[in-house]
Symmetry: C2
Subunit: 348 residues, 2 copies
């Protein structure tokens, strides 16, 4: 075990402070990574504040990790010292259930080990995330970052990126489809970029007219203001796919009404009860509502490679680790365009 | 036009009474049908009582119609006098939109003409259903009843049958799948019979232990009492498909929790707001909730042929038209096993 610097908190109500944690020693298939950048995800806050159930403290958040390989275990095949790599929301899974065999480790039937707050099979403690100097991860959960990508900007791809990419791919969004991205935040802005890069006619659906101009800069072909009932009516029953990134429970009926027959709206933001779902809207045109959680390791690598080839990158605001509590306040207030990335040099 | 006897009502609060209606004259592609039997569907009641929006009065309900062909138009190709035929929930559609071209007339983009209460393109009035002596229907919406089927019992196949058949087929239920049928009424009992006949391991999911024995007689391999939280927990994340026939808004979370990763629950009974849908349950294993409405004409014929080949028939209780108001009270109280069929001889 080695002692390293990190930022985390000790209770649901305490701020993040500088602290020290123990990282496990490198195992034969492990990769040791010096963390250069770490994205700030709203999940970090929900978890650290025990809003999604009681957390294991101390919580060291962070699952949008970018770094350089500093050492590799004797059996590591795919990485070498100096490689630019990423670690996302998971650092382990059973590797033998049907989900893992299909490359869907996030749905591991024996519970994936998440990057922070999960029991660590090797150390015996719990996992610590990327708000830290270093991380040691089995190479099966390490991603390769294409050389042409800006490393700081790439960080949010590891969660916000794959969370939006995976459903767009799984539901087979293709060139010419009419795709709506509901909600313009960290997830939504990646949804717009990906849908557009996949060739879809991409419509940003937002309650806020002031977000419209921004959405167009991000690549949206059109903006639909969800409070404008006339416009919503014009688009009724016309969307091939909707990616709903609204982060809280809400009335989904106005959005479901936009779907074509047999089309699907996928929820990726809200993980709580929806305030209204009228089954009549589903029944009348055989519509679907589904959920989707992050993505598997193989598809995360595919997404990163796609971003390298198409130069797709998140919009980020850099922050030092010492300013993390203020940054979190701004995330809670949806006051960031569109993702904070911590420059981990500031931790040294 | 010809004047015929029927049963119907003149306002949302009035009982059904004997009345006379006008049937259109036979058109070149029309089939005239003497109605022998008509099933009683809960939709009849909702519509006649304006519970699904204001009805066009008089309402003559009935869309589970079985009869004999008495005359055919000069261009009719597929039917002749004396044939045993059925008419379901629709009697016309645009025939050229993408839904109609895919054989999904129920989702016609220009609005299907439903068997009762829809504007009738030919007569200029509105359509009247099967609680009557006779019906005149374009042959494209007339179904052939396999000769070996009991005609009285076959009636509910035209709505309860196709409503459950269509989603089981569309979502590709196959031999060996673990399928749950939620709710044991007119729809649910057909769901059990079809799922079993398709080779699925069929589990009846009901709130009422007393329905268990019945469900097994209908063919269920197992009964799961939804109020028994221990049993529900044992079946968590294990169903390949759920057909939810509960006819009112309800908390769907306990049922969605039963689905496997990537599996779907289809709502066919409730056409109103659900009381609870927790998106977290959808997100965690990429689960789906969908709706489905009746079925297309081609698949209705396939279903009837399947019933002929496999001798699948609803359980029915025969009733005379003069007792229809009492029968409706019993439908509302879920006091029928499992579908009333009106013997239309009683109307003469």
């Amino acid at each position: 075990m080695s002692t390293i610097k990190a930022y985390g908190n000790y209770s649901a109500t305490s701020e993040l402070i500088s602290l020290e944690i123990e990282r496990r020693d490198i195992q034969p298939t492990d990769v040791a990574i010096e963390i250069l950048y770490c994205g700030v995800c709203h999940s970090d806050i929900h978890t650290a504040r025990s809003e999604w159930g009681p957390a294991r403290y101390p919580v060291v958040p962070g699952h949008e990790i970018i770094g350089k390989v500093t050492a590799v275990g004797i059996k590591v095949k795919n990485f070498k010292v100096g490689d630019s790599v990423g670690v996302g929301c998971m650092v382990d899974s059973c590797q033998h259930c049907s989900a893992c065999e299909e490359g869907l480790e996030q749905y591991c039937e024996n519970a994936a080990t998440f990057t922070y707050g999960s029991p660590d099979k090797i150390s015996g403690g719990h996992t610590f995330g990327g708000y830290s100097e270093k991380i040691v991860v089995d190479e099966s959960f390490v991603l390769r970052i294409p050389e042409n990508l800006n490393l700081a900007k790439a960080a949010p791809l590891l969660c916000a990126g794959i969370t939006t990419w995976s459903p767009l791919r799984h539901w087979n969004v293709k060139s010419g489809d009419k795709v709506g991205i509901v909600g313009l935040g960290g997830l939504g802005h990646m949804g717009v970029k990906f849908a557009k890069a996949m060739g879809a006619y991409t419509i940003m659906i937002t309650t806020s007219p002031e977000k419209g101009a921004d959405a167009k800069l991000l690549g949206a072909d059109e903006v639909l203001i969800s409070k404008d009932s006339e416009s919503m009516k014009k688009h009724a029953n016309s969307f091939d796919f909707l990616l709903n990134t609204i982060p809280v429970g809400h009335d989904v009926d106005p959005y479901v009404s936009l779907l074509k027959r047999d089309a699907t709206m996928v929820l990726v933001g809200a993980v709580e009860p929806l305030t209204n779902v009228n089954s009549a809207i589903l029944v009348r045109l055989r519509k679907n509502i589904a959920g989707s959680m992050i993505g598997g390791i193989t598809e995360t690598q595919e997404m990163l490679d796609f971003c390298g080839e198409n130069n797709v990158l998140p919009e980020v605001e850099m922050v030092n680790i010492q300013d993390i509590n203020e940054a979190w306040d701004r995330v809670v207030n949806a006051d960031v365009k569109y993702r904070f990335v911590i420059d981990m040099k500031s931790l040294k």
